[in-house]
Subunit: 395 residues, 2 copies
DNA sequence: CGCGGCGAATTAAACAGTTTAGTCAACGCG
DNA sequence: CGCGTTGACTAAACTGTTTAATTCGCCGCG
């Protein structure tokens, strides 16, 4: 039982005992019948029907079979039909991986997020993006590979090895191109962005990276918020922004919003201390806590600007729970203008951004780059979409 | 002295550095400059550094290079380090697709949804699942391939082009296993599920499919809701369930909830007409419309049971907008007990389900199946998690 | 009659890795 | 001295496709 081969195989990834493991040599598969323990369902590892099997059965060359699928006009009608019939009978299915290896096309795009997936997926804006991207991928018969850098980065690749280098990580993903959301200059992955051979498009990211970038006018939007609040007479502000729970991950658009707001306040002649930064989680149900953080500040603000609508909506419901009136006791402004912002009570003042066209443009550009219909040089980058303030009753 | 080992040790001389190489990576951006415009960008197709290149450069066999990565202890420490150094200098990155072809492992799982991605991603429960699955995949160094099975629906049930044969579609996805959410018996893909060679696990799906299934007690939960409402004296009900916008796609858990509720009402001796079915979109901001649909019924109900919390929360805000009192004018009950349910006003009565452990169990099982640590026969299926009613102020 | 071109199918070389089955020298042991 | 083992490494065979180059009749044309 303890054949030397097995001992040598100790190192295999997910180690298991040698039975059932390598069905490779078709003859020896049955000989293993006597390995009693852990007899696996054999049916699963039935040998796959390959293109070559079809060719043999149909009495043609493998190339002909390939042509039958990919270049029908190279074959006579009769031959083609015969081949397809044979394939059908044998239950042949082309092997996607082998095809990818030969063609260089994976028919998948990588959607990369700097934080944990868990975190990103709680942001309605991101899931909305994901939906748009998904729709585009459906149309192009592509798939989305969702990957988070967050947990992977500090891990060890092998026992005794170093942490995974971003570039290594990136090139281990079998995608034709990448879409990155919310990536900052300080993120280790930016180095990989520059070096990558495959097209990369950035969304809501830093504006000075060497890749086509699609941003919105965060600064201007936030600036307008401050002007609006100043005009309403407010002089003490809070900004609710990302909780520093995810060390090292910075969402650049949030930073720009904070800057835009602060700048307007400063230009109005108020001291920097008039703006206090507070951390709020980007989950609606954490709103009460976020509200408390604001309400218990020593210099209590009269208005709070949230870098995202979820935070604002959370704070809104936190305030309601405490029986406070918005906007009389506290004005609340969000950013993003989610559909829910219109439905809240009171309806939320927010910075409107086009949630559809921007991700659509980004994904379309990515596909064009992948298909080499355009080159990166053709793209004016960063592309910045307009934002505009929508004043509602919360301010 | 002239032993081959020594001759091979040539490389010990570190000063013969082969730097300046980087044949692939850098520079490509600059080289493109001199191509006349309009010329297709060829530079991207610069030849990739392969394992064989590394082997040649390091003076070892390709096997040795492979071993350096995958079977370190087959090599002497010195050789291994030399190989890795060489690889680093050349900028070598293993080709994930080639590796997959040879090993049969893709290190990815497919997450398949019956509807369009757009639709599914608006459901907070699903995005929560996605987060959990993402976390598990991060741990296993796997990736998620997100794919919508919408294309496989027959033409008459959906806008768009020719349907793809389900089995063909499934086998075109390069994943080691699949997790399907919300799949019903009637879905064309169920046939493919049975035929698949790769492990499949189902979540919140039909209970009579030939694959490990992880469901919750939808029937019992809904039954308890009806009992609760009956005890409160209600006699006229509405059930708000999925809008039939996505024709052909049936979410089985919703069906079970409708059945469970109806059964309890029936057992209480009321006529079937005491329960009216209303369609409501699973988006919060569509709540007002959904509310109207209920409020304008000829036989106006005094209580509404929603098959999901998002629907209930939407209706809640719709009712508030009309100035109605919940629960006095209308009692509202949800299903799922999202975190937001606790924060709504009034707090929402809902059927609690464990949102974490069920998807975690499913994904863990899937990985065990992929790694052949267990077989399908070992799994008691369907696995059904408990639900329990949480009464709050909305009823 | 020779020649070019075409349609239909084939051969062989990629694609970029992994794994099997060795080789070869050194070592241990009775 | 012969035999079995081990450690370090390699040659060759795989994984399942695509595709460039080629063959081989056959037809029309000058």
């Amino acid at each position: 039982m303890s054949c030397s081969a097995c001992r040598r195989r100790r190192w295999r990834r997910r180690d298991s005992n040698c039975n059932g493991q390598w069905p490779v040599v078709s003859g020896s598969k049955l000989d293993r019948r006597d390995l009693s323990q852990g007899e696996r369902v054999l049916s699963r590892k039935r040998k796959r029907v390959t293109l070559r099997d079809v060719a043999r059965q149909a009495g043609v060359s493998p190339t002909a079979v390939s042509f039958a699928y990919n270049a029908p006009h190279q074959l006579s009608q009769a031959t083609r039909e015969h081949i397809l019939d044979t394939a059908e009978q044998l239950g042949y299915q082309p092997h996607p991986v082998a095809r990818t290896l030969a063609t260089g096309r994976t028919n998948a795009i990588g959607l990369l997020v700097p934080t944990s997936l868990n975190w990103m997926l709680h942001d309605p804006l991101f899931t909305h993006f994901l939906g748009e991207i998904g729709a585009a991928c459906d149309r192009e018969e592509n798939r989305i590979i969702l990957a988070s850098m967050y947990e992977t980065l500090p891990r060890d690749l092998r026992p005794g090895g170093e942490p995974v280098a971003p570039f290594t990580w990136l090139s281990s993903i079998a995608a034709d191109g990448f879409l990155m959301v919310g990536i900052d200059r300080s993120h280790p992955l930016t180095e990989a962005v520059q070096r990558s051979q495959r097209p990369i498009v950035l969304l809501d990211s830093a504006s000075d990276l060497q890749a086509p970038t699609f941003n919105i006018d965060d600064h201007g939007g936030a600036y307008a918020v401050a002007q609006h609040l100043l005009a309403k007479g407010h002089r003490e502000f809070a900004i609710a922004t990302m909780a520093p729970r995810l060390d090292g991950v910075v969402i650049p658009s949030f930073g720009r919003r904070v800057k835009g707001f602060s700048q307007a306040v400063e230009e109005a002649g108020l001291p920097p201390s008039a703006v206090q930064i507070v951390h709020a989680r980007g989950v609606r149900s954490a709103g009460h806590q976020s509200f408390q953080n604001i309400w218990t500040l020593r210099r209590r603000p009269t208005a709070v600007f949230c870098v995202s609508d979820v935070r604002a909506l959370g704070i809104l419901s936190g305030a309601r729970r405490e029986g406070l009136s918005v906007p009389d006791d506290l004005a609340v402004v969000g950013f993003g203008d989610l559909p829910d912002a219109r439905e809240s009570s009171p309806p939320l003042t927010s910075v409107h951004r086009d949630m559809d066209s921007q991700p659509q443009l980004a994904i379309r550009t990515l596909f064009q780059l992948i298909n080499e219909q355009i080159s990166e040089a053709d793209i004016a980058s960063p592309h910045i979409s307009d934002t505009r303030l929508v004043v509602r009753e919360s301010s």
